[in-house]
Amino acid sequence: MTPIRPQHGDVGRLIVNGIELIAEPSGVLWWPATATLIVADLHFEKGSSFARRGVHLPPYDTAATLARLAAAIGPKIRRIICLGDSFHDGKGPASLSFDDAMALARLVNTHEWIWLTGNHDTALPRSLGGQIVTDALRLNGLTFQHQAGDTPVGEVSGHYHPKSHIDVQGRRLSGMCFIHDERRIILPSFGAYTGGLHIDSPPIRALFPTRYRVDLMIRGRLVRREFVPQIAS
């Protein structure tokens, strides 16, 4: 058996551009001051997208993602921001099953819902409800966009599906993760069929040149790790 580090009371609490945010073990980000929940890379209908190309993945991914999302939205949440790639491809919204479409509509209609578009879902139909934003969204000191890059401070994004690992007694436990410093945060992907990109890979490392922190999702908990860049010899 592998001991899991006890979850510290403050794990998940973080500050970006002076604003307090809370990373949740489910993979969503909570912004208490504005009762906002932020989620990235839902990739709805990835299963049917693969089926069209000849691979019959189990068609339950959208239902599974929706159920987890519904569970993550607490009663205090008024606004939801989806950081893009909410659908795996352009045919996604039309491929939703009746039940999944109804479940999604229930969530969208009971909150202030903002869809950012991503590289997988460059255009979204109005019929989804909520507000569709194709550009960066600025809100009380934070900038929300699909892919990190050009905001000086206060950037909240997804796209990269960051993942990381810890070694515990010789065993490697990997999971999706949040990665952040004082200037920006990248959220883990939330979709049931989304894989990850390790935070040591160059595209992610380039975004965090100095000290950064990682909140790693392991078996329903968050484990925080700090990274300080080593001086090149």
């Binding site: 058996m1 691979v55 019959h56 189990p58 068609p59 070694d167 989304t194 894989g195």
Partner: protein
């Protein structure tokens, strides 16, 4: 035996080499003349392969038809090539008008095409290449003229997933070529009836021919002194003696149980190698060219010893080997018998072999194995029912070849022995899986792979489906591996990705007999350079290859423990150890289960002597710790070996009968299976074999790392939303044996009910010392290194364990 059964040219060739016809070779010729299918069992070196081919040579020498006559299928590419070479000699010398070719994954596309249009008389191939050929629309033309199908080393194929695929292929061949005889060549095995039925897949009646068993092999156990280790599996303590034996013999095969052990033993042997004897290394993770080089040097008599894993269990005839050494526990009698048979590949002289136990329990196991060999006993599990994932792959392949109705296909697959008892329901579910994924939610009707015509025949919807099938053929799914490249450009083999990811800059590791320094990981490659310095290298571990102790040997070990009179054959330190145990506690009995509990330091220990093999003990450990957790006993960890399970906790375990109650195989098992990494690995294999996850997609090459990740996501979603899906059923069936061995655990729990003997001790017992020494070594990469055991710790434990 006179040569009059042979045509004159062959008879002369036999006579020119002073060969005579073995009785079983003659029997094979007679069976062929009567048109009978046969299973020939004989030990290695009995001229088995020649016996299989003789009837075909006789027929072809007299009257060669312009078409394919004999198909030869072997589990190893190298074996197909080797047989091609061996058989080529008489055909060439006698100028027989027979064309002989091989067809494997390495055969160039142009030659494959030519072979389909203008087939040779004899074709040597592998199960995977056969499946590929059978999926072509002209398979009926290619194979219609067949007269004989020869399957070599059947014992290595039947019972596994490759065997399932081949049995289904045999059923199809029987339909395409009703007149062809099926011929199986096998080592002597414990379940000849089942094997004969397997050969007969497709509805053939199979006659059995047994070769002469030959003299009993001369097997001894290395008499260890006091240095026989308490724990560990490497056997390094005995290498000085092993080296001496190598020096006394012409050519020695040194078998070990894992690749990590092979690396370590090889490295250590060379430290003893003052005479610079040519000693080589052979295991499955080395590049093929390197392995071929070693095999060729061996065949040419240029090597004095080869340290090898099961990669040398099969195939190639070495001729000159005069000693086999098995380092570490033999694990099973049949496997040991086959390994021992590698020495003296001739029938008339006994093989010579030496067993080297790596610890005290292994000494018991070696002793038990010696008894079994002397009694000519064999073991090994009977073939289990065929895998549903393999069936799915085959059904799609058959749809690529020709349209079929469900009824006809069901009749055909149930004529294959592994699927003889397949319920129609399961077949229909597999068919539905192949069509649309087999989901309760009818979501993919518009993207089906098969369509049904008005006659109820299934067709593939497009050539693309066939193309994808052909890229994913086969049942061997490798763990995610990284190629190891030496700075300067050369790839020397592969290590598991998990091992590679654990390496840090400057770490050194032992691979291909050299110490390498980790440089970096680039794409699917690990870059390394030859290391200088003395840092202790890590040793790559590999998932596969760790066979559990066979039920049969376990039975014999328990018998040995219960008969103090038989201890006189045991090494003195082992005898003393058992006597001390008898004095301080009890010896495990034949039927029940001995459980000891005792405090040590700030922990309480529970030690169960199950002798059911490591996989079953590990599953038991998972389930018991869950139960102890719920009971508030605060379990902290467990460790399992082939013989023993030990759990430590903050509170002492009570009510042992209740703890081991059979109902742990209910909800606890379900819950554990949902998150078990072993089940996830099994699911990944199943998903790849069934074609849900592709090895490669035409167009975009997918790397193997992605395959691993995606299959976990699918597993989670599928378990939650459709737990009875065909792929999960296939995964659960795999879990019954293999990595989790739930079947064997279930049998044990049933057997021990009411027969558990609990000894509450005040301190550790002598028999528990080895397992306590395993604690903390398990998860270290290098679990491997015996030297890790803290000497002080051993002494301390022994003092505690000593009788009053």
């Amino acid at each position: 035996m006179p040569l009059d059964a042979l045509p004159s040219s062959l008879a002369q060739w036999f006579a020119s080499r002073r060969w005579t016809l073995h009785p079983h070779q003659r029997a094979m010729i007679e069976a062929a003349q009567a048109g009978q299918s046969v299973l020939l069992t004989a030990p290695t070196g009995g001229g088995k392969t020649l016996a299989g081919f003789l009837p075909s040579l006789i027929e072809l020498a007299q009257n060669p038809p312009p078409s394919l006559h004999t198909l030869y299928i072997s589990p190893l590419k190298a074996l197909a090539v080797d047989i091609h070479r061996n058989l080529g000699a008489p055909i060439e010398e006698l100028k027989l008008p027979i064309r002989l070719e091989t067809r494997t994954g390495d055969t160039p596309a142009a030659r494959r095409q030519r072979q389909r249009e203008d087939p040779p008389h004899m074709l040597m191939t592998t199960p995977e290449s056969l499946a590929l050929m059978l999926s072509h629309q002209d398979a009926d033309k290619t194979f219609g003229s067949l007269r004989a199908v020869i399957i070599d080393e059947v014992h290595a194929l039947a019972g596994g997933k490759r065997g399932d695929l081949l049995a289904l292929g045999l059923a199809r061949l029987a339909k395409l070529a009703p007149e062809a005889r099926h011929v199986g060549l096998s080592a002597t095995i414990a379940w000849p009836d089942e094997l004969a039925a397997w050969i007969g897949s497709g509805g053939k009646k199979v006659h059995r021919i047994a070769g002469d068993e030959g003299p009993l092999p001369q097997v001894t156990m290395l008499e260890p002194g006091e240095e026989l280790p308490w724990a560990g599996h490497m056997g390094l303590h005995a290498l000085g003696e092993v080296y001496r034996k190598i020096g006394q013999h012409q050519t020695t095969l040194v078998f070990v149980n894992t690749r990590a052990q092979a690396e370590l033993v090889f490295q250590e042997l060379w430290k003893h190698n003052e005479a610079n004897l040519p000693i080589a290394l052979h295991h499955g993770s080395l590049v093929v060219e390197q392995r071929r080089k070693v095999e060729a040097a061996m065949a040419a008599g240029k090597l004095r010893a080869v340290v090898a894993t099961s990669s040398l269990d099969l195939g190639i005839d070495w001729g000159a080997v005069d000693l086999v050494i098995q380092i570490g526990a033999p694990k099973g009698v049949s496997r040991l018998t086959q390994r021992v048979g590698r020495a003296n590949h001739r029938l008339d002289t006994p093989s010579e072999a030496l067993l080297v136990p790596a610890n005290r329990f292994e000494a018991l196991e070696c002793r038990a194995a010696l008894g079994a060999i002397a009694a000519r006993e064999l073991d090994g599990e009977k073939p289990r029912p065929g895998g549903l994932d393999v069936l799915a792959q085959h059904v799609l392949g058959m749809a690529c070849a020709a349209p079929f109705t469900a009824d006809a296909m069901y009749a055909e697959v149930t004529s294959a022995a592994p699927y003889a008892a397949l319920p129609r329901n399961d077949f229909d579910d597999v068919l539905s899986y192949v069509e649309t994924g087999g989901y309760a939610l009818q979501a993919y009707d518009q993207w089906r792979h098969l369509f049904r015509d008005s006659l109820g025949q299934y067709h593939i919807v497009s050539p693309q489906v066939a193309r994808r099938y052909r890229m994913n053929i086969g049942t061997i799914v490798e763990a995610a591996m990284l190629r190891v490249r030496i700075r300067g450009g050369k790839v020397i083999g592969e290590v598991e990705e998990n091992f590679a990811l654990g390496l840090r800059n400057g770490d050194t590791f032992l691979f291909a007999g050299q110490i390498l320094a980790f440089d970096r990981i680039q794409g699917m490659e690990l870059w390394a350079s030859r290391a200088k310095g003395k840092k202790e290298p890590k040793i790559p571990s590999y998932d596969g290859g760790k066979l559990p102790l066979s039920t049969h040997l376990a039975e014999r070990v328990r018998g040995l423990l219960q008969q103090p009179r038989s201890w006189k054959d045991l090494p003195p330190p082992v005898r003393d150890w058992l006597k001390a145990q008898k004095q301080r506690s009890l010896l495990p009995d034949r039927k029940g289960l001995l459980v000891e509990t005792f405090p040590r330091g700030s922990y309480h220990y529970l030690v169960a002597y199950g002798f059911e093999g490591r996989p079953a003990h590990q599953t038991l450990g998972m389930l018991l710790t869950r139960r102890m957790e719920r009971a508030g006993l605060k379990p902290l960890g467990f460790v399992a070996t082939d013989y023993v399970l030990a759990i430590w906790s903050l509170e002492p375990a009570r009510d042992i009968d209740q703890l081991f109650a059979q109902d742990m195989l209910g909800d606890d098992l379900e819950e554990w299976m949902a998150e078990s990494s072993m089940l996830r690995r099994s699911f990944r294999n199943v998903a790849v074999i069934a074609g849900l996850i592709e090895r490669r997609l035409p167009g975009h090459e997918k790397n193997r790392r992605q395959v691993t990740f995606n299959s976990d996501l699918i597993y989670d979603v599928l378990r939650r939303h459709q737990p009875d899906h065909i792929l999960l059923r296939a995964t659960n069936a795999d879990a019954a044996t293999g990595l989790t061995d739930i079947r064997r655990l279930g049998l044990m729990l049933a057997r021990i009910k009411g027969h558990i003997t609990h000894r509450a001790l005040d301190r550790v017992s002598p028999l528990a010392v080895p397992i306590l020494l395993e604690i903390g070594r398990e998860t270290v990469y290098g679990s491997a290194i015996d030297a890790l055991i803290d000497k002080a710790d051993v002494d301390e434990l022994l003092r505690e364990a000593a009788p009053d």
